[in-house]
C-alpha cells in the first residue's frame, strides 16, 4: 500500500495554491509517525487549531495512527476526504491533516472570519415586528431560518455556483407545501450557470428569469428572515447565497412590492389604507409629471379656469419651455439623490438642504423655475419612495412618461399605460402571471391584495402560483 510522503505532499499542495503567503504548513515528526497540517491562516481560527488539533496530537503519548488522530481532534466538523478534494477543503477554511502511515486524509473545518451580528436591515425598517436581518454569513442565515421552523419540513439544498468563487447557494423550501416542479426548475437553472463568480445574490437573478433584459423586477429579495419565513409558508422557494444578506424568493408577483412587512404586524384595516396610499403614491410618481406637462402643453383648455390662471401667472416669466423646466428639476433632484447616497451622512444632510431649500427657492425667485413645476416634481419624487424597492423602476418610468406627455399628450400617456400593462401581463415566470391576482383576477388572492383582510380570513395559500397544499388554516 502507498502511504503519503507528508513533506512531498505538502509541497505539492502549496504549489497548487501558488505558494500564497497565507498558506501555513506544519509537520510534526514524532517517534513513529509524521503528521502534516496545512491550512490558510487568514481563514481559520489559529487558537482552535493550536488547542483543539495541534496540541492534543503533539502531546499524545501513546501510539499514533490515523484513527487515533481522528479521535484526538476536538472539533465538530471532521471528515475524511479524497486527495482531489484537499485544495477545495483548504480554501473553504479547513485544516487538512496527512500522515505517513496512512493513505487517508482528514479535513477539520475551523473556518473563522469576522461576521457581523444579525441587526435590523437598513432597507426594511419596521415599527413593530422582528428586527433581525440576514448577514453575509450563510451559516448564520441558515440558523436564522432554521430557528423559525422547528420542523423537518424545511428542506435546504446545497449547490455551488461560480467557477472561481465556488459560492455556496442554498435552496430552501417547505417540502409538503411547495410545488416540486418549481424547485426542479430552479435547480436546473442554477446548475446550468457557467460563470466566473457569484459576488452577490443579484448575480443569479438574470439566470432565474425568462426575461433578463426587462426593466421590471421579477425575483423577490429581502434581508429579513421573517419575510422569507412567510414566503416559504406561502409555498415559495428561497435562494440564499453566501456572502450576501439578500435572500431571493420565487415565484414573484408585482403585488409583493405593494405589501410591506409592517402590514402584517399592524391592524389590517390600517394596512389596507396604507396599501391604497402606496398605490396612489406610485401611480402619481409615474404619471404625475407626465400628465402635468401634457396638460400644460396640449390640453390647457381642459383645466379649470382658476387653475389655468394660476399656472399662467407663474410660468409666463420662465425662460424655458415647460418640458425643459420639469426635466431640469427632475435631473436636479436625481443628482442630489446620487450625491446624498455617496456622501457621508453629515455631508449628505447639508447637500439636501442646499439642494431643496437654496437651489429650489432661489430658482423660483430668480424666475428660472415655476412653483407649480417644483411642487409637481417634489410630490412625484417623494411619492416614488412609497414603494422604495421599486424606486429604480418608477424613476425610469417617470422619465418615460414625462417624455411621452411632452411629445404627444394625454393620448400618449394612456397608450403608454396600456403598453406597459400589456408588457407586464406578458411576463410569466414559473407559470406565475406577473400581475396576479389582478390580471388574471383571482378573488381569493385579493384577500391580501390592495385590500387586506384579517389573518383569520386568509385560510388558503395564494392561487397565483402552484403549490402542493392549498390550505393554510382550518
Amino acid at each position: 500500500m502507498n502511504f503519503f510522503n507528508v513533506e512531498k505532499e505538502i509541497k505539492s499542495i502549496k504549489d497548487q495554491l501558488h505558494n500564497s503567503f497565507d498558506v501555513v504548513d506544519r509537520v510534526l515528526n514524532l517517534k513513529d509517525i509524521s503528521v502534516g497540517f496545512i491550512y490558510l491562516k487568514s481563514f481559520t481560527d489559529n487558537l482552535i487549531f493550536s488547542t483543539a488539533i495541534y496540541q492534543p496530537i503533539s502531546s499524545y503519548e501513546g501510539k499514533l495512527d490515523f484513527d487515533v488522530i481522528k479521535k484526538l481532534v476536538q472539533a465538530n466538523d471532521i471528515k475524511e476526504i479524497k486527495k482531489e478534494e484537499i485544495v477545495d477543503n483548504i480554501l473553504k477554511g479547513g485544516v487538512v491533516i496527512l500522515t505517513n502511515n496512512s493513505n487517508k486524509i482528514l479535513s477539520v473545518d475551523i473556518q473563522k472570519f469576522n461576521a457581523r451580528a444579525p441587526s435590523e436591515p437598513p432597507t426594511t425598517p419596521v415599527i413593530q415586528g422582528p428586527r433581525e436581518g440576514f448577514t453575509e454569513d450563510i451559516k448564520t442565515n441558515i440558523g436564522l431560518l432554521r430557528k423559525r421552523f422547528y420542523s423537518a419540513d424545511l428542506v435546504l439544498k446545497n449547490l455551488t455556483v461560480g467557477k472561481r468563487t465556488q459560492t455556496q447557494i442554498i435552496i430552501a423550501y417547505l417540502d409538503s407545501v411547495v410545488d416540486k416542479r418549481i424547485v426542479k426548475e430552479i435547480e436546473k437553472k442554477l446548475k446550468k450557470i457557467d460563470i466566473d463568480g457569484v459576488v452577490d445574490s443579484y448575480y443569479l437573478i438574470p439566470f432565474l428569469i425568462d426575461r433578463p433584459n426587462s426593466l421590471f423586477k421579477q425575483v423577490g429579495n429581502t434581508e429579513k428572515p421573517d419575510i422569507v419565513c412567510a414566503k416559504l409558508l406561502e409555498g415559495r422557494v428561497a435562494i440564499m447565497v453566501d456572502n450576501t444578506p439578500m435572500v431571493l424568493t420565487v415565484p414573484f408577483v408585482l403585488l409583493e412590492e405593494l405589501q410591506n412587512t409592517n402590514d402584517y404586524y399592524t391592524n389590517y384595516i390600517y394596512s389596507t389604507l396604507l396599501r391604497f396610499v402606496r398605490l396612489i403614491g406610485s401611480l402619481f410618481a409615474i404619471l404625475g409629471p407626465g400628465i402635468y406637462i401634457a396638460l400644460q402643453l396640449f390640453h390647457y383648455n381642459i383645466l379649470p379656469l382658476k387653475y389655468l390662471i394660476t399656472i399662467a401667472d407663474s410660468t409666463q416669466q420662465i425662460p424655458f419651455t415647460p418640458f425643459i423646466e420639469i426635466l431640469f428639476i427632475s435631473l436636479l433632484f436625481q443628482i442630489l439623490y446620487e450625491v446624498s447616497l455617496r456622501l457621508p451622512s453629515y455631508l449628505g444632510l447639508a447637500t439636501s438642504i442646499v439642494g431643496a431649500l437654496i437651489l429650489g427657492d432661489t430658482g423660483v425667485k430668480a424666475g428660472l423655475i415655476s412653483p407649480p413645476a417644483v411642487i409637481v416634481v417634489a410630490i412625484a419624487k417623494i411619492a416614488l419612495y412609497t414603494i422604495p424597492e421599486q424606486s429604480a423602476q418608477i424613476t425610469v418610468l417617470q422619465f418615460i412618461f414625462l417624455l411621452i406627455g411632452a411629445s404627444v399628450g394625454l393620448l400618449g400617456i394612456i397608450g403608454g399605460s396600456i403598453y406597459f400593462i400589456g408588457y407586464l401581463n406578458s411576463i410569466e415566470n414559473y407559470r406565475t402571471p406577473y400581475l396576479a391576482p389582478f390580471s388574471p383576477f383571482i378573488l381569493r388572492d385579493n384577500k391580501d391584495g390592495i385590500v387586506k383582510v384579517s389573518l383569520t380570513s386568509m385560510k388558503e395559500r395564494p392561487l397565483s402560483f402552484e403549490t402542493n397544499n392549498k390550505r393554510r388554516q382550518k
Partner: protein, 364 residues
C-alpha cells in the same frame, strides 16, 4: 386539452363589452337621429339583436366544436379556396373598420382636446401601441383588457348616469316611420358586427357549459349603457341632437365645471381613448390572424408591417375630415358588414347542420 394561450370566459366577455361599447357612443347617436329622429334608439335595439344573434351562434358553434378554429372548420367543410376568399374579405373588413375608428377618434380628439391638425401625433400614439398589443399573445392581451376593465366600467357608469342630469325634456316618439328606421338601420349596420372577432379567435377562447350567462352578463350591461347614452343624448338635446356630433362628450358637456373640478366632459374623452386603443388592438389582432391564415408562409411581422404601411397611406391620403369619414362609413362599409351578418352566420349554420347530420349518422 386547454390551450396555453387561451383566455377565459370573463376575459372574453370583457372584450365583448369593449367592442360593443366602442364606436357606438360617439358619432352614431347623432347620425341616427339625423335620419330616424328619436327612433334611432330602435335602430340600436335592432342592430344589437343581430349582434346577440351572432354571439348565440358563436356559443352553439363553440359547444359543437370546442377545440377547433373557425378557419379549420371552413377549410375542412368548404375547402381551401373558400377559406382564402372569406379570410381575404375579413382582412379588408378589419382594415376598413380600423380606418373608420381611427378617423372618427382622430377628428374627435383633434377638434376637442388637441386643437391642432397634426396627424403624426395620433399615428405615433396609436400605431406602436396597437402593433404591440396585437403582437403579444392573446392571453396577455385578455389580461390587459381585464386589468383596465374596472376603470373603463366605472367611467362608463359615471358618464351614462351623469348624462341623465342634463335631460331637460322628453321628445315625442313616432316621429319616423318604419321604412326610415329600417333604411337607417341598414345604412349604419357597419358600426355593428364588432363581435365577429369571437369567430376569428374561436380556438383561443375557453368555453365550458354554462358559461353563456357569464358571457351575456357584460354584453347586456354594455347594451344597456349604450342605449342609455343615446337616450340621455336625445333627451338632453331633443330636436338639435343632429347638430351635436359627439354624443357622450356632448351630454357631459352640459354639466361643465362640476363642483369646481373643471370640465367633466374630459372624462368622456379619456373613456373614448381607452376604448379606441382596445378596439383597434382587437381589430388589428384579428387582421393579423386572418393574414396568417391567408398567407401561411408569412409571419405576424409581415402582417403588421403591411398593415402599417397600408394604414398610413389610406388615412393620410384619402380621409382627413368628418364629412369624408361619415360618407365612407355610410357608403363603403355597409357592404362589407355582410361578412359579419351574412357570411359568418351562413358558414356557422352550415357547420352546425353538418355536425347534426354526423351525430344522427353516428346514432343510426
Amino acid at each position: 386539452m386547454k390551450n396555453e394561450q387561451s383566455i377565459n370566459v370573463w376575459q372574453t366577455s370583457i372584450m365583448l363589452f369593449l367592442m360593443i361599447f366602442a364606436n357606438k357612443v360617439l358619432l352614431l347617436p347623432s347620425l341616427l337621429y339625423r335620419e330616424a329622429n328619436v327612433e334611432g334608439t330602435i335602430c340600436y335595439i335592432i342592430l344589437f339583436l343581430l349582434e346577440i344573434g351572432l354571439i348565440t351562434l358563436f356559443i352553439y358553434l363553440k359547444r359543437k366544436y370546442p377545440e377547433t378554429s373557425f378557419h379549420e372548420l371552413i377549410k375542412a367543410k368548404l375547402g381551401t379556396i373558400t377559406l382564402k376568399v372569406i379570410y381575404i374579405l375579413f382582412i379588408i373588413f378589419f382594415v376598413c373598420k380600423l380606418v373608420l375608428i381611427y378617423n372618427i377618434t382622430y377628428i374627435f380628439f383633434k377638434d376637442l382636446i388637441y386643437k391642432q391638425d397634426n396627424s403624426v401625433i395620433f399615428l405615433i400614439c396609436f400605431l406602436p401601441i396597437i402593433n404591440y398589443l396585437s403582437f403579444i399573445n392573446f392571453r396577455a392581451f385578455g389580461r390587459t383588457c381585464q386589468l383596465f376593465f374596472p376603470i373603463i366600467l366605472i367611467i362608463a357608469l359615471f358618464c351614462v348616469l351623469l348624462s341623465f342630469i342634463s335631460v331637460d325634456s322628453v321628445p315625442l316618439l313616432y316621429q319616423s316611420n318604419l321604412s326610415d328606421i329600417i333604411i337607417t338601420t341598414l345604412k349604419h349596420i357597419s358600426s355593428f358586427g364588432d363581435v365577429i372577432f369571437l369567430f376569428i379567435f374561436m380556438d383561443k377562447i375557453d368555453y365550458k357549459k354554462g358559461d353563456g350567462k357569464k358571457l351575456f352578463s357584460l354584453v347586456i350591461l354594455a347594451i344597456i349603457l349604450v342605449v342609455g347614452t343615446s337616450v340621455a343624448f336625445y333627451y338632453s338635446y331633443t330636436y338639435t341632437s343632429f347638430m351635436h356630433p359627439y354624443a357622450i362628450f356632448e351630454v357631459l358637456g352640459n354639466i361643465k365645471d362640476y363642483g369646481g373640478l373643471g370640465r367633466i366632459d374630459v372624462i368622456a374623452v379619456i373613456f373614448v381613448m381607452f376604448l379606441t386603443y382596445f378596439q383597434m388592438a382587437i381589430y388589428l389582432k384579428s387582421y393579423t390572424k386572418c393574414f396568417n391564415v391567408v398567407f401561411t408562409k408569412l409571419n405576424s411581422i409581415y402582417a403588421l408591417v403591411s398593415f402599417d404601411i397600408g394604414f398610413i397611406l389610406i388615412v393620410e391620403l384619402l380621409i382627413r375630415n368628418l364629412e369624408k369619414t361619415i360618407a365612407y362609413g355610410e357608403s363603403v362599409l355597409p357592404y362589407l358588414s355582410l361578412i359579419s351578418f351574412f357570411i359568418v352566420p351562413i358558414c356557422s349554420i352550415i357547420f352546425l347542420i353538418i355536425k347534426k347530420k354526423q351525430n344522427n349518422k353516428e346514432k343510426e
